[in-house]
Symmetry: C2
Subunit: 186 residues, 2 copies
DNA sequence: CCCAGCATGTAAGAGGTTACATGATTGC
DNA sequence: GCAATCATGTAACCTCTTACATGCTGGG
């Protein structure tokens, strides 16, 4: 259960409502931990019951009510516990790689459009990350910032990696003749 | 439901029993799509019911019975359908990045051991990938092999990337003084 | 007035994890 | 004889995704 801990870190960085967290999980934090708002609300409710977080209801005079969550001592203790426990290596799941291998059993060129789309996505993200880098991580950084920058750099590195790989894969696919179907054993 | 399609590709590459698939998902295919044997058996049963695959029971004279699955025409059709449908970009989930940001709320140096372990893991995998590369992807490759090699190259690229990032992150962590706890808002 | 955005949720179902269960063979 | 490996599964549980549901405010 690591979404819990991602939310705890996020709330330590800035106490927020579920809605705000959901939006942040579409951006900065979401670049390395994805979650939908339904998931977030459910986990927040669970963590409040466990007293890891505390809700401060801001009744909306004008806007709708907001429940602003802050991390309690119990929550910090739980985070420490989790931080100390070694991570079991997470199994990756990349459907594009499945498609690449699957391409051998049809016309590989059919994958070109998909790859081009991926390349464009990674190029966009890379541009976006570079803008954020220039804006948020220039000059001298305090420890918290430095750690965030290191995470950001992982993002940059991997978008760059994907981009280069997409180029390479596109070169390969484009060089392949429309092949005849490979033998089946059906 | 992409495990289904990963299994279809895997069975097209080589008709196999559930057990064999489970072992392959701990190795080559598993490098980009992880699955446990329980999951595999369940999906195989479902796909057999859908007639995407066909079981050929090899009664074991000596060894236990094996059910060898092959992909049917229906299975190939389903794979084609899935291959043609655009992939929605998958949300990444990397707990190590959560820990990096979480390190700001404790002593960052506590993460050093974890990072060193990750670095060693990636270094090992990289070595392993390079051995496989030299063994399986040398010389001229047929289309299927070329596609597999491209997937393999993604693996190499990302292990390399992680390795470099781990080094960088370790440099940062080691340069950080044991910090005092940051302020809380509990 | 309507639509976009703010803000919070419920419910059903698919997918994934962990623990349990069985039985045969091969090598020590 | 015992442990490891081969080989197949069931059951319970948790997590995640998708669809639905509600109501308010501000701008065109």
């Amino acid at each position: 259960m690591a979404l819990d801990h991602a939310l705890l870190v996020s709330l330590l960085e800035k106490p927020s409502s579920g809605y705000e967290l959901a939006r942040r999980f579409d951006r900065s934090i979401g670049y390395f931990w994805h979650a939908t708002h339904q998931q977030i609300y459910r986990v927040l409710a669970r963590m409040e019951a466990s007293q890891w977080i505390h809700a401060d209801v801001r009744a909306g005079e004008t806007a709708p009510d907001r429940k602003v969550f802050t991390v309690t001592k119990g929550g910090r203790a739980e985070l420490s516990r989790w931080m100390a426990e070694p991570l079991d290596p997470e199994g990756t799941r990349n459907a594009l790689m499945v498609k690449m291998r699957g391409a051998a059993f049809g016309d590989p060129r059919d994958l070109i459009a998909e790859l081009e789309h991926h390349r464009a996505t990674h190029a966009n993200r890379l541009t976006c990350y570079r803008i954020i880098e220039a804006r948020d991580f220039a000059g001298t950084l305090d420890p918290q910032r430095a750690l965030q920058y290191m995470v950001h750099k992982a993002g940059l590195r991997f978008e760059q990696g994907w981009l280069e790989w997409c180029e390479e894969a596109l070169d390969l696919l484009r060089s392949m003749k429309p092949v005849t179907q490979r033998r089946t054993t059906s």
